[in-house]
């Protein structure tokens, strides 16, 4: 269950005038672990968040006022701010006085500067124009073309969509809200109108994130409703104005309560945090911050802010910032994978994140039974979940106003080109509720697979991925899908299928295994596979080094030998000993193999198909299994870190199955000898250890008995209190 964890005060905010509360911040911008805090008066302060330490403070001259929060230019490490609407200043961390830094006067009022990772900051002007900072600096006085005149920008945000920055901003004119999407490279502007239907209350706050060529915008209304608007980032041929529909995501407050100065922050794709002040119909005012699961519309955690708040909140890098009284508070949070059980608070908290794991070196256990346990090598507990806001490769698609029916879509799939299909499919999937969702998706996949079979050149990889990710599919629903994917060696899709389908036939599982093992690590490296889940136990860098090294040694030359001028034999030996410590496959392949290890199977049916593996494949697979087994055994809990990791039982079962299936091959192959003997030695050490444990079982039990004497004997005198 998601929850707020510990909190600390980052800094005290300077109050202005006689008001009890500070007016709030102009802005808070992230800079790696640091934040750049711009207040409403004249100062900009840089804080190290983990140390709660100010690193620097700059202020503009008396009489001037900062109008745009300072940001950090990630490219150059410089800070940029705008004061008095037009005057842009750029300085470095070691500058002390803002009077002496670079200054440029622009020709139009700046609304905000957006810092974009790995790109020049983007400057958004009040008239809607967007310019890159380097372009502006080249000629500061250049003419800025106005996009609109009467509209007022309410909110803006910049994203990077496949190395192309995009600025999304929202303007207001009377009661209408417009959404602009400004692509920067090449410059392209799309305008949408926000559907205001059915909501009479005022818009309070916005937040947005980018997934899959779509910006998901969350709008918080004063009625306490959070609406979701999907903004397509795709080029549309028609210049006509689209109205973007909104759908109710969650309702924060019971009816009748009015929210005042509230804001919303996105924690991860299923969790949002809202800070604000609510007025109940009885006239009670309450200031709070709450954490919501949007998938199941459940309140996960909430905190009262008794000292009042300006209702501003931000979320950067797993930390949630909120103003509380005169302080800026940092609240840590944890968001677990949202499942229904977690949303309802029924899931048991996993103790693994807390346990201090002992790492055991089984190879140190020799015949004399000495075992070296190295404590204190704690695995860092990753409590904050990774934000899954990653971007994907995109291809063009279009938005369409009226939703498609399934029949129309199936017809399109039969006849149209890949691009059209992709666009229509996106459109279909993003359009509100689809009745009989699973059946629909099944039908679409079937149609796509049929077309693939008919036309060998046709392969809508993105569409298939998208549909498979919809959950709830099974192998029997689309039997042809995995066959097609195998033909095209679409490992990403295969991985997804293995993770999601509960009923893959053993023959197909084996075919996948064969495919995965036969692919080279280099070719896999180019694939878009997320290797985060194995990062906990496969040292990618080290692995690469070893690979290089072994190649070099084969060539009869080792640069490391020369560098260290060590005894060659010693190094060789240590390499051989440590062989099992290094992963025999690349992280991408490891991910794919893990997907196979975790899939469901029945050993009777699997065994005949396993025999189809070639000898090299068997050895490689065994090496990988051995590696996993030793990694598992290192932990006292015998668990691998990360998700989608096989359990020790799964690893053992597969090892036994592979050995069963290729008994003769393994016995004959000289390469297998070392492997088998090291495995044997390892298992023998474990058996030895456990038998020793068995021997002292009695003593251990006695220790336990001494600690809690249960048996009271025939007579005892006890104290009993009845209250």
């Amino acid at each position: 269950m998601a929850a707020f964890c510990e909190e600390f005060t980052l800094c005290t905010l300077a109050g202005t005038g006689g008001s009890a509360l500070p007016q709030g911040l102009l802005g808070l911008e992230p800079d790696r672990d640091r934040v750049l805090l711009t207040d409403r008066s004249r100062t900009v302060t840089l804080y190290e968040v983990s140390d709660q330490k100010p690193l620097g403070c700059w202020s503009v001259k008396q009489g001037q006022s900062i109008t745009c929060p300072a940001v950090c230019n990630s490219e150059t490490g410089e800070f940029v701010l705008v004061h008095d609407d037009k005057i842009l200043q750029i300085w470095k961390e070691d500058d002390t006085n803002l009077d002496k830094v670079f200054k440029a006067t622009l020709s139009a009022d700046v609304y905000r500067i957006h810092s974009v990772p790995n790109a020049e900051p983007l400057v958004l002007f009040r008239n809607g124009a967007v310019k890159s900072l380097d372009v502006l600096l080249a000629s500061p006085q250049q003419d800025i073309k106005s996009v609109f005149s009467n509209e007022v920008i309410r909110w803006s945000e910049a994203f990077v969509e496949v190395e192309k920055p995009v600025v999304v901003f929202i303007t207001e004119e009377d009661v209408n809200c417009f959404i602009y999407v400004q692509h920067c490279n090449p410059y392209m502007l799309h305008k949408f109108k926000l559907d205001q239907g059915g909501e009479s209350s005022t818009l309070l706050s916005f937040a947005a994130y980018l997934t899959d060529k779509t910006v998901t915008l969350l709008c918080l209304y004063s009625s306490g409703c959070v609406y979701k608007v999907l903004i397509p980032l795709l080029q549309s041929d028609s210049e006509e104005q689209h109205i973007l529909p909104k759908s109710l995501l969650t309702r924060l407050e019971e009816s009748g309560t009015i929210l005042k100065h509230a804001s919303i922050a996105i924690l991860d794709k299923d969790h949002i945090a809202v800070a604000g002040c609510s007025n109940s119909p009885e006239g009670n005012t309450k200031e709070w911050v709450s954490l919501w699961n949007t998938k199941f519309q459940t309140l996960q955690d909430s905190k009262e802010l008794p000292l009042g708040s300006t209702g501003q909140c931000w979320c950067y890098g797993g930390r949630f910032f909120v103003t509380h009284g005169k302080e800026l508070k940092v609240i840590l949070y944890k968001c677990e994978t949202s499942s229904l059980a977690a949303a309802l608070g029924k899931i048991k908290s996993t103790p693994t994140s807390e346990t201090k794991s002992l790492s055991v070196n089984w190879n140190m256990l020799q015949e004399d039974g000495l075992l070296c346990v190295q404590p204190d090598q704690t695995v860092p507990a990753k409590s904050e979940s990774k934000r899954l806001l990653r971007s994907r490769r995109t291809t063009g698609a279009k938005t369409q106003l009226e939703p498609l029916t399934l029949e129309q879509l199936l017809l399109i799939i039969k006849n149209s080109s890949l691009n059209v299909i992709e666009e229509k499919l996106m459109n279909f999937l993003s359009s509100a509720q689809i009745p009989n969702f699973q059946v629909c998706v099944g039908n679409i996949i079937l149609a796509l697979v049929n077309r693939c079979e008919a036309e060998p050149a046709f392969y809508p990889s993105n569409c298939l991925m998208q549909l498979t990710q919809m959950h709830g599919l099974s192998y029997s629903m689309c039997p042809g899908l995995m066959t097609i994917a195998l033909e095209k060696t679409d490992v990403c899709l295969l991985q997804l299928c293995l993770q999601q389908f509960p009923d893959i036939p053993e023959a197909v599982t084996c075919a996948c295994l064969r495919t995965f093992l036969s692919l080279s690590d280099d070719s896999l490296e180019e694939m878009n596979i997320n290797v985060d889940s194995v990062a906990g136990y496969i040292d990618t860098a080290c692995n690469r080094k070893i690979k290089n090294q072994s190649e070099v040694v084969q060539n009869g030359f080792s640069f490391e030998l020369e560098e260290n001028s060590c005894d060659a034999q010693l190094t060789q030996k240590s390499h051989a000993m440590d062989r099992s410590k290094f992963c025999p496959v690349g992280p991408q392949k490891a991910i794919l193999l893990n997907a196979i290890l975790c899939s469901a199977y029945s050993d009777t049916f699997l065994l005949p198909h396993l025999k189809d593996l070639s000898a090299e494949q068997v050895i490689l697979f065994l090496q990988y299994l051995q590696f996993l087994y030793m990694k598992c055994s290192e932990q006292a809990t015998t668990n691998l870190p990360g998700i989608f990791c096989p359990t020790i039982n799964q690893i053992m079962d597969w090892m036994c199955l592979v050995l069963d299936a290729h008994f003769t091959v393994v016995v004959m192959l000289p390469e297998a000898k070392g492997l088998l003997s090291s495995l044997h030695k390892f298992v023998r050490a474990q058996v030895h250890f456990y038998s020793e444990l068995n021997k002292i079982e009695g003593s251990l039990k006695e220790l336990q008995r001494i600690n809690n004497p249960k048996d009271v004997g025939l007579y005892s005198i006890e104290v009993l209190k009845l209250v």
Partner: protein, 713 residues
């Protein structure tokens, strides 16, 4: 009152007076005693009477009568006897109970005086079985010599009528056909059907021997037969089979092997559509006569439900209209209601296991801190240990002086002890059997214990049902037949005189004997409950009945008179607790409040009766009650719990703050830490004694059960 000379000073808890101020209210030193090695005797036979009475015969010869309507309360106990052990019990001639045993006697029990009325030798050697004819006018007994003897049941006696044809082999089981004209008799390898009129065997059913592991056919003992009115005979035999026979044709209809060990007992419901079977592996099975197909007229016996409540042989079963009853050699009586026959109330449908007697076998000398344990054939006197330490809730204190076994008092003769008592200072011990009363003067001088039997006990007082010493140890009350109580005067010199006999006033006279006694601390009042359920209060100064507590339709399970207020607190078998003011001759306001509001549902649904009531010596509002699974300090000053509240709220209360505790506390302060309880009493305001008998300890003393293969062993 003066303390009798020669008494040891009551061992005070060291540090008690000093610590008393610091000790919070309601904090007790609990003497947790497991020294009483009570062992329930195995159940040999049961017999259900249509009027919801159940007679249970145990292998120590005792016979118990349970009232199935009054929460299965053990209403009457006829104490055991070394030689008169019933192999079979029968209700006949109305409400008369007969037993037959291996001593060769047919015994009639007196259910009013709770003793053997008479015993008649059947002259056929040991008797293995007995059955009454459907009208209850005749008894048939199966003898060791192979004969079946018929007896007429006459008023006040039975008379031999005739022998059926004598055959070879002992008659192990008998069943009388509903017509009264035929008797089925199970023997070794054989079942015979006799014609009652002619006395001839008309059918001979051969039960085939079964090859067991030893490859030599072992004889097949027909342990039980049932003769259904349609002529079907059901037999249970030592090869683990239940067989259905056609008694006309002499053919086997159906065999059902249900156990690898012997099947020992059978019983059928009155409607003859259900049979209950007990096996030596402790399992009980139900057979039901079910339609082969829905709507078809053809019906077949099908084994439906298995139950495993016993660990040892189920020697006997009974089938009432709503429940299956089984009794095993593990001493447990299990009443398993049939779900389809009871209303859906969960409480009625709950399984009831009776392991412990519904009366007190322990008496306590509070002042002297002695415990008297009553075994069937001897008494044990123990002195409690002491401690000098104090501690917090839940702590176990170091015992500075261990408990001491002072005396073992052996009873002479074959009769078992029926009741026993010790006086408050531990100066007198009395016990009684069915025919004798023994009184001892106890002198405790330091380590030495001197026991002196009082020779001249008045003859009138023989055969006491219950004994009680007055609080000042100058009187002994002896509960006797017909509701009368003999008052004996005890002198310090060790002389005992009959003072007078208290009898109910003529209008209230009863046939039932007095079974429970309670005396007030001032020696003014005596409350007497009889087996019939009436409670009479006597004025001891005037030696006359004072009043009768209004009649209640359930038997009293425990009663006690408050030492200060002279209010009589009574617990009934339906779990009601009533309080009656003796001076006012009326129920107290608290009792009326309880009746109005009703007790908590969880309290009413407990399945063991309250067997002892005591009072807090300082807190006049606090009453101690206990059953097998809990004891309760009932605080009459606190509000009664609502049905929505948690009855057993001590663990949650302990976590609350003082003020919150005050608001959520209710009258029932229940402790379930000590189980199963045979006795709980308050020694003084700061100490409690609880006598526990762990079920595991009982199991350890039982013989090993029939070996059963368990998975994984």
């Amino acid at each position: 009152m003066g303390r009798p000379p020669g008494d040891a000073p009551p061992p005070l808890l060291a540090g008690r007076s000093g610590a008393a101020a610091a000790v919070a209210m309601g904090e007790f030193q609990v003497h947790r005693v497991r020294l009483f090695a009570f062992l329930p005797a195995g159940i040999r036979c049961v017999s259900a009477h249509p009027s919801s009475r159940l007679a249970v015969g145990r292998i120590d010869g005792s016979v118990e009568i349970y009232n199935l309507q009054a929460n299965s309360f053990q209403e009457k106990v006829i104490p055991g006897h070394e030689t008169r052990i019933p192999e079979a019990l029968c209700w006949a001639g109305g409400d008369r109970l007969f037993g037959a045993g291996l001593s060769g006697d047919i015994i009639e029990y007196d259910l009013e005086k709770l003793c053997v009325k008479y015993a008649l030798d059947a002259f056929g050697g040991p008797l293995w079985s007995m059955a009454a004819d459907p009208t209850g006018a005749q008894l048939a007994v199966g003898c060791e010599d192979g004969s079946i003897k018929l007896f007429h049941v006459l008023p006040e006696r039975i008379q031999f009528e005739k022998n059926l044809d004598r055959q070879k082999g002992r008659i192990l089981s008998l069943f009388w056909h509903a017509s009264g004209a035929r008797i089925a008799a199970g023997s070794i390898d054989l079942i015979r059907v006799f014609d009652v009129k002619s006395g001839h065997a008309v059918q001979r059913l051969l039960v085939d021997r079964r090859l067991t592991g030893s490859h030599t056919p072992r004889e097949c003992v027909v342990w039980s037969v049932v003769f259904l009115s349609d002529g079907t005979i059901v037999s249970a035999d030592s090869s683990g089979r239940v067989q259905f026979w056609d008694s006309e044709m002499g053919t086997l209809l159906q065999t059902s092997v249900i156990s690898s060990s012997a099947v020992l007992s059978l019983a059928t419901s009155e409607a003859e559509d259900s049979i209950v079977v007990g096996t030596s592996a402790g399992a009980v099975y139900q057979f039901q006569l079910l339609q082969v197909k829905a709507g078809s007229a053809e019906r077949q016996w099908v084994r439906t439900k298995p139950f495993q409540y016993h660990t040892h042989d189920v020697r006997t079963v009974a089938h009432t209209a709503t429940a299956l009853i089984s009794g095993g050699l593990d001493g447990q009586l299990v009443i398993r209601p049939l779900m389809e026959k009871v209303e859906s109330r969960s409480y009625e449908a709950a399984v009831r296991k009776v392991t412990f007697p519904h009366r007190c076998l322990v008496s306590c000398a509070r002042k002297a801190r002695l415990l008297l344990f009553q075994y069937p054939l001897h008494l044990e006197l123990w002195r409690l240990g002491t401690t000098s330490a104090t501690g917090r809730d839940g702590e176990v204190l170091p015992v500075s002086c261990p408990p001491e076994h002072l005396v073992q008092l052996k009873n002479k003769g074959p009769e078992h002890i029926r009741s026993s008592c010790i006086s408050a200072w531990g100066t007198w011990i009395a016990y009684s059997t069915a025919s004798r009363l023994c009184l001892y003067r106890v002198q405790l001088a330091g380590e030495r214990v001197a026991l002196q039997r009082v020779r001249k006990v008045p003859k009138v007082a023989c055969g006491a049902h219950q004994l009680l010493f007055s609080a000042d140890s100058t009187r002994l009350f002896v509960a006797s037949d017909r509701g009368s109580v003999h008052v004996l005067k005890l002198l310090q010199s060790g002389v005992c005189e009959h003072l007078h006999t208290l009898q109910p006033s003529s209008g209230e006279s009863t046939l039932f004997s007095a079974v429970l006694l309670a005396v007030s601390a001032d020696g003014h009042w005596l409350a007497v409950a009889t087996g019939g359920g009436t409670v009479t209060i006597y004025n001891l100064k005037k030696a006359k009945p004072h009043c009768v507590v209004p009649a209640y339709d359930c038997p009293v399970t425990a009663l006690a008179i408050h030492p200060v207020t002279n209010r009589l607190v009574m617990a009934y078998s339906d779990q009601q607790v009533l309080e009656f003011s003796i001076p006012d001759k009326a129920y107290t306001p608290w009792s009326r409040k309880v009746q109005q509001q009703g007790l908590h549902r969880d309290w009413m649904e407990r399945d063991t009766p309250i067997t002892h009531i005591a009072f807090h010596p300082q807190q006049a509002d606090q009453v101690l009650l206990h059953d097998v699974h809990m004891f309760c300090l009932l605080d009459q000053s606190l509000p009664l719990p609502e049905d929505t509240a948690v009855l057993c709220n001590q663990p949650s209360l302990k976590q609350l703050s003082e003020t919150a505790r005050h608001s959520s506390a209710h009258a029932f302060k229940i402790c379930k830490k000590y189980q199963p309880l045979l006795f709980v009493d308050l020694l003084d305001e700061k100490s409690l004694v609880v006598v526990e008998r762990p079920v595991m300890d009982i199991k350890a003393q039982l013989p090993p059960p029939v070996y059963r293969k368990k998975f994984g062993t």
